[in-house]
């Protein structure tokens, strides 16, 4: 599956770079992260407890950063696995200073998805990934604004790192697993994938070192 898009961060490029390379921010901004370890200069390993609506699972993942050109671009290779399935992807992230204090992030990647989720959750995969990436990036942007505000000594913008539950809620807050037709079913499978994709994308935004 192709994952691509653009997002404008309300902050200068250096700040964005700083943000995405700060493991502290990311580890807490990635809800459900049980562990996130840098295993070598360019490689991270982590475990995430993903919960999207009723779908839940522990995913273990690995990220390798390469082709890093600070503060412009880098390539990420991501692998995640859990009982509902697996995802594997490579993506390029590019940051462009727009000259007006904002930064354009362009991301482009190819994600392979397999296992249960891929075989029964196709209906909304594409739609879902778009939607989830947008929400993930918005969360990061809020973190950025909080940082920018802080560093400029302005009045602090209120930003609380989302809890697992809140994040999950933002991702897919659904109450009753009710619905019309199961015949047409199982979109939920999708959600897990989406989270994997988000993880990939967010990890993509993690700088080297």
């Amino acid at each position: 599956m192709k994952v691509e898009g653009e997002y404008v961060f309300n902050g200068p490029r250096e700040e964005v770079w700083e943000l995405v390379r700060d493991p502290e921010v990311l580890a807490t901004a990635l809800p459900g992260t049980q562990s996130l370890n840098q295993v070598s200069e360019n490689e991270y390993q982590g475990k995430m407890h993903v919960r999207v609506g009723p779908v839940a699972g522990v995913f273990s993942g690995r990220v390798v950063v390469s082709d890093e050109v600070q503060p412009e671009s880098y390539t990420l290779t991501v692998e995640g696995r859990g009982s509902p399935g697996f995802a594997k992807g490579t993506g390029q992230v590019q940051l462009t200073d727009q000259g007006d204090g904002t930064t354009l992030m362009k991301y482009e990647g190819e994600v392979q998805i397999g296992g249960k989720v891929a075989s029964v959750g196709q209906r909304l995969l594409d739609t879902a990934s778009k939607s989830m990436i947008r929400q993930g990036l918005e969360a990061l942007n809020k973190a950025l604004q909080a940082r920018v505000a802080q560093s400029e000594g302005q009045e602090e913008v209120e930003y609380n790192l989302p809890s697992e539950a809140k994040f999950a809620a933002a991702v897919a807050k659904d109450m009753a697993g009710e619905m019309l037709s199961s015949s047409r079913m199982i979109w939920m499978a999708v959600a897990v994938i989406i989270v994997i994709v988000i993880v990939a994308v967010i990890w993509m935004s993690r700088g080297g070192g």
Partner: protein, 292 residues
């Protein structure tokens, strides 16, 4: 394909259910009709620790009149009951027309009206229809209750404004104004599959046969229901000529929806279908408005 173990509660009152939700938060899933949750459990894609089953809460099953010729439905009202209810047929003919198109008879026997809304599938007929009809939803938690317009209830893909300790308990549907017309069209691969694109339309004409009010709500062409406000805006105050309808359909399909691709339909095909359906549905709805 057998579900993983879970803890099970079958409260008989809303209060009890809310207490369970407050206690377990995101560890709990609400089981309404279960027609989409249980397949997920069977596939083991969902493994909630706790299920709170609403099927024994008799207070949530009802269809009744609301003031000003509207309707009120308890969230657990079975879809099959809605399908055959004479009051629904009289007061919400759009719903009456849509019900038989939802899934299969056996699913409607069990599936509930509120469950479908809370599930917030972008392809769900009732999701789009509830917005088209300007419905309002009553949400309850232990802290109290609030009413949310359907248009604001759906946040995105399977996402609503419901908090984990909240339950959707009731749906209120206002009466359609006089000189209103409606239409619901969808294109499915097989009869009764999730549609590749669909649209629910409600229009009202003034006494000069100009469009006084219009709502077009699309399904399956975005990460939630898409209320095409700009297209509706274009029609207001206009005589709904074929050209005006065509232009509105074009607007909605090119600027307001954001379809994804899947194994059944590409984004491009969905966009095309949305345009065709919007045109046809508006045409039918205006015809009906003129006739009534």
């Amino acid at each position: 394909m057998k579900p993983a173990p879970f803890k099970y509660y079958a409260p008989t009152t809303v209060e009890e259910a809310l207490a369970h939700l407050a206690e377990y938060g995101y560890d709990a899933k609400v089981l309404a009709g279960g027609q989409s949750l249980i397949p997920m459990l069977n596939f083991r894609l969902a493994q909630p620790a706790v299920l709170v089953d609403l099927n024994n809460i008799s207070a949530l099953f009802y269809i009744g009149p609301d003031e000003d010729s509207g309707l009120r439905l308890g969230a657990m009202t079975r879809q099959r009951q809605v399908e055959y209810d004479p009051l629904v047929a009289e007061r919400a003919p759009l719903i009456h027309e849509v019900m038989p198109q939802i899934a299969y008879p056996q699913i409607r026997s069990r599936g509930t009206f509120g469950g479908s809304l809370a599930h917030a599938d972008p392809s769900a007929e009732l999701v789009a229809v509830s917005i088209a009809l300007n419905g309002r939803l009553r949400l309850r938690s232990r802290a109290g209750e609030r009413w949310v317009p359907a248009d604001e209830f759906f946040v995105g893909l399977f996402t609503t404004v419901l908090e984990p300790d909240e339950l959707l308990v009731e749906v209120a549907l206002p009466a359609m104004p006089p000189r209103s017309g409606w239409s619901f069209l969808q294109i499915t691969r097989r009869h009764h599959d999730f549609c590749m694109a669909g649209v629910a339309v409600l229009v009202t004409l003034d006494n000069r046969d100009q469009c006084e009010q219009a709502r077009l709500v699309f399904l399956s062409v975005g990460d939630g229901p898409v209320n095409a406000r700009q297209a509706a805006e274009m029609l207001l105050g206009q005589t709904p000529t074929p050209e005006a309808i065509r232009a509105a359909a074009e607007k909605a399909a090119s600027d307001e929806i954001d379809p994804g691709s899947d194994i059944h339909a590409s984004a491009e095909y969905r966009r095309h279908l949305a345009k065709v359906l919007a045109r046809r549905a508006l045409t039918q709805a205006f015809d009906r408005a003129r006739g009534g």
